[in-house]
């Protein structure tokens, strides 16, 4: 068995900033990756979408570089971006080794000195840019609003996973510049952040640079962890009209949090159900019976609790009811018999290969620096890479079977039919209409 590892060194600065260094000298680039442990889970109703809007403001300048964040780094040959999800906000740049000082100067300036640069004009412009992002990625996209209907049905309204990270359009419009200050002070400081430097840099120099640029920033108070619970007591059927040609059914369940027992098993269940032509549902629904155009399954692993989502689009003229029945039959078979030896063997080979693929890039979304931060921020242990793979290696026929039987129950789930406008008859029977805006 190939030994697969992601070595690192970690230190925590006096102000609470975690610094993690990984050396890889194959290409003369360094990934600077920083996670703030804040996402839309830290928002409250009426202010949804704020964490993401805030991320936009982080690119508009800081006190000592009071203009766009992009030009000095693009001029240095960097690739950079950021993203916000329910649990965290990350910022990364992949820079030539020669530009590491500049990247850290800028990253530390916006960690320590953002607020003087946030003007009303910048704030309002980014608010409009975000509204455009929302229109482009959700409102103007087929099936784009389905996930909003699903999450708001899965979680109670005060649970922060009940809204999407992009937020509601009304909330975005209502945001005020004054909200920025409190948000920054609560969440953007060294003790709520984790910095990874990965790539063509020697470990001692990396720590020296981290200390130099971030060491004198004031620590701040660690935010109180968010606690929220959700449960489902029945099957809820919903229907939503959309500008689509073909109906699609979504089935969603609440499932164990990221890294919790059964999380890896459900990942494997998703694979054996709907990943590739050999998967059960692809094979029956798409390949053999041809009643569906596509089928997908995914364990959406998150910090406070995950959800497992199955989706299938009906082939022209085919009914969602038949697809739905077939999915349930397959889940029943799996709950009774579990995966075959072949399925287990294949799933493990793929999982292992996926872990190796994840070692190819130092930076960017999902690169080695991002993974080290994920493990550090969510588990406090950047060295979890091998243990993470072991979660999959340890999975057995019975643990996979029982995970699916335990969590993918018929009597606790949300079933959403998305149908072409005005064609209510295409929805599953007994579905209540739902609208999202």
């Amino acid at each position: 068995m190939t030994s697969i590892d992601l070595p690192y060194t970690k230190r925590t600065l006096a102000n609470g900033l975690d610094v993690i260094v990984h050396e890889d000298h194959h290409v003369p680039i360094v990934a600077v990756n920083i996670w703030y442990h804040v996402g839309s889970k830290n928002e409250r109703p009426g202010r949804t979408g704020f964490a993401h809007l805030f991320e936009h403001l982080m690119f508009e300048g800081s006190e000592h570089h009071n203009t766009g964040f992009f030009p000095p780094l693009q001029q240095a040959g960097a690739l950079l971006n950021g993203s916000t999800n329910t649990d965290r906000t990350n910022y990364w740049a992949v820079v030539p080794t020669s530009a590491i000082d500049r990247a850290l100067w800028m990253e530390s300036d916006r960690m320590g000195y953002l607020l003087p640069a946030v003007t009303r004009e910048r704030f309002e412009t980014q608010r409009d840019v975000v509204l455009n992002e929302r229109r482009q990625n959700y409102e103007n996209r087929p099936y784009g609003m389905a996930i909003m209907a699903i999450t708001s049905a899965l979680y109670p309204p005060d649970h922060p996973y009940s809204w999407m990270t992009i937020g509601s359009a009304d909330d975005i419009r209502a945001m005020q510049l004054e909200d920025v200050q409190a948000f920054f002070r609560t969440y953007y400081h060294p003790s709520n952040a984790s910095l990874v430097l990965a790539g063509d840099i020697d470990t001692p120099r990396a720590f020296d640079l981290a200390e130099q640029y971030f060491g004198d920033l004031p620590p701040g108070t660690r935010p109180v962890p968010v606690i929220a619970a959700a449960s489902l007591a029945r099957e809820q059927r919903l229907v939503m009209e959309d500008r689509v040609e073909l109906p699609r059914v979504y089935i969603a369940w609440l499932s164990p949090a990221m890294f919790a027992p059964d999380d890896a098993e459900l990942d494997l269940v998703a694979d054996l159900m709907a990943n590739g032509k050999t998967s059960r549902l692809y094979r029956t629904l798409v390949y053999e019976r041809r009643i569906a155009l596509d089928v997908s399954a995914h364990q959406h692993s998150r910090e406070l609790g995950s959800f497992f989502l199955l989706a299938a689009t009906a082939a022209p003229g085919q009914s969602l009811a038949e697809i739905y029945a077939e999915i349930d039959a397959e889940l029943d078979r799996h709950s009774a018999m579990g995966p075959t030896d072949d399925e287990m063997e294949r799933a493990l080979a793929q999982a292992e290969a996926q872990f190796i693929y994840r070692l190819q890039t130092v930076g960017g979304f999902g690169g080695k620096s991002d993974q080290l931060n994920a493990y550090n921020v969510l588990l406090g242990n950047p060295g979890f890479f091998t243990a993470d793979l072991d979660r999959y290696r340890r999975a057995t026929h019975d643990s996979v079977r029982s995970a699916a039987a335990r969590h993918l129950r018929r009597d606790a789930r949300v079933v959403l039919s998305v149908i072409p406008r005005g064609q209510n008859a295409l929805a599953l029977a007994g579905s209540e209409p739902v609208t999202v805006s």
Binding site: T2, D24, H26, V27, P28, I29, E63, G68, F70, P71, P72, Q74, A76, G77, A78, L79, P96, S98, A99, R102, W105, S108, D109, Y113, T125, Q126, D128, V129, V130, N132, E133, R135, Q136, N137, E139, N140, R141, P142, D208, E211, Q212, D216, R243, V244, E245, L246, T278, Y287, R290, L293, P316, E345, R346, A349, Q350, A353, I356, Y357, Q360, T361
Partner: protein, 459 residues
């Protein structure tokens, strides 16, 4: 150690040295050209077969055929069914990727280096000896027809289809690889088998292998997997080469719209046919594009997004092919801002040609963003394999990577202005909108682009 001078940004040091991949070339006895690159950072291997003829090889009444040929490659070979092929790939943890572009198609498998032999022989069997069974063909074609139906709901896909047709009319570059409903329905299994035989010929293909093996090991694997591949296609009809056909001189309309009632945003495309990928002006065009619309800090993105907040993002680029290729601006803008966004975008293009030539700062930034980050493109085996395949596609020398940075750095302001004058002609550009026609009709009149030609969602 602490204490930072925050009065100015740290300077950037000299560019670090980087050795570009060394490419070893061999030609097998059947004519297959093999290019190998040793790339040992992770124990993986990418094996990529690129064959001549992509969607540009489709006859005008068979648009979508090449893409169906590509789809049939993983639908079974020899005794293996489509399911068996998928199973065989899963067992070696393979990542299979297909790319159908206008001039070529490529098929690649990335797998663990210890499965190199299995991966290569699987790829060889799939690409050179696909089963071409009627049932698989029927399913694949039906899935593409259904997919087309779905694409009608996706504004960027509608825009891409309509814009290519505006640019190229009936030229073989004028359709997206998936083709059209009418043409797909006409395509038979015989058509598919015939095009496969014509396209898949060792003497008209390039095999690229990059990964954690030596040149010699990779060559041996290539020989054992692809060495027996016979050049039977030599007796058949040659594949149509789109790049050898000149696009029509007929000017497309200046303004066209695909109506999408109550659309939240307007999907825009603005451009015209402009240059060929192998033009000596390529470095000047890259620099020009970077500062105009090719990066976040470009003039057009800063104007449309950061200043006016019309859009989440706007960008320009060349949709490169061997023949004459379009320069195109793309953005999805708020419906209410559609006409203003178009006017501002065109004004930026005009400005670069006359009133606002590139400043020294812009030039430095554009060049640096292209050159300083260049080594980043050689981090993974897949990236390297794709880059090497591009050399074969555009007939570029093995020294291309090493020459890229000096060539870009040699570009001056005058080169950019000259390139803008020669390759961007605002009065010839077509503007295509996929959006709410009734909501924007009045404002479009102010653009001076004439009455929009109204296009159906399917072309």
């Amino acid at each position: 150690m602490t204490g930072v001078d925050r009065s100015r940004l740290p300077a950037v040091g000299p560019d670090p040295a980087f050795s570009f991949p060394e490419i070893a070339r061999h030609t097998l006895s059947n004519g297959l050209e093999v290019r190998t690159v040793e790339h040992a950072s992770v124990p993986l291997l990418t094996i990529l077969l690129q064959v001549e003829g992509g969607s540009g090889a489709d006859a005008s009444d068979r648009e979508g055929l090449a893409a169906i040929v590509a789809d049939m490659v993983d639908e079974g070979t020899g005794a293996l069914s489509a399911i068996d092929v998928s199973d065989a790939m899963a067992r070696i943890g393979a990542d299979y990727d297909v790319d159908v572009s206008p001039d070529v198609m490529s098929f690649s498998i990335t797998t663990l280096a210890r499965f190199a032999t299995r991966g290569a022989s699987l790829l060889a069997d799939m690409t050179t000896k696909p089963s071409m069974r009627e049932t698989d063909f029927t399913r694949v074609r039906q899935m593409r027809l259904d997919r087309l139906k779905q694409l009608k709901d996706l504004p960027p896909a509608v825009a891409e289809r309509a814009f290519l047709r505006l640019m190229y009319a009936q030229h073989p570059y004028g359709h997206v690889p998936i083709g059209s409903d009418t043409a797909l329905k006409r395509i038979s299994l015989d058509d598919t088998s015939a095009l496969h035989s014509a396209m898949f010929r060792p003497s008209h293909a390039t095999l690229v292998m990059t990964g954690a093996l030596s040149h010699q090991e990779m060559l041996e694997i290539a020989k054992s997997a692809f060495g027996e591949w016979a050049d039977v296609g030599a007796r058949g009809t040659p594949v149509q080469r789109a790049s050898a056909i000149e696009p029509s001189e007929m000017a497309p309309p200046r303004l066209a719209i695909v109506p999408r009632e109550a659309a939240a945003q307007s999907e825009l495309r603005i451009g015209h046919l402009s240059a060929r990928r192998n033009t000596p002006d390529y470095p000047a065009l890259l620099v020009m594009n970077a500062l105009l619309g090719g990066q976040f800090v470009s003039r057009i993105n800063l104007k449309l997004r950061e200043e006016k907040a019309y859009t989440y993002g706007a960008r320009t680029g060349f949709d490169w092919r061997r023949g004459l290729s379009p320069f195109v601006l793309q953005a999805s803008v708020h419906t209410a801002s559609t006409a203003d966004a178009i006017a501002d975008a065109i004004a930026e293009i005009e400005g670069l040609r006359d009133s606002r030539p590139p400043t020294q700062d812009e030039l430095v930034l554009a060049k640096a963003s292209l050159t300083r980050g260049y080594p980043r493109n050689f981090e993974t085996a897949q990236q390297v394999a794709r880059s090497v395949a591009q050399l074969a596609l555009y007939d570029l020398p093995d020294s291309y990577f090493a020459e890229f940075v000096p060539k870009v750095n040699a570009i001056g302001e005058d080169d950019v202005t000259r390139a803008a004058m020669q390759y961007l002609v605002p009065e010839k550009m077509s503007t295509l909108i996929v959006g709410d026609h009734s909501a924007i009709a009045d404002s479009l009149d102010t653009l001076g682009l004439g009455t929009p030609r109204v296009l159906p969602p399917e072309l």
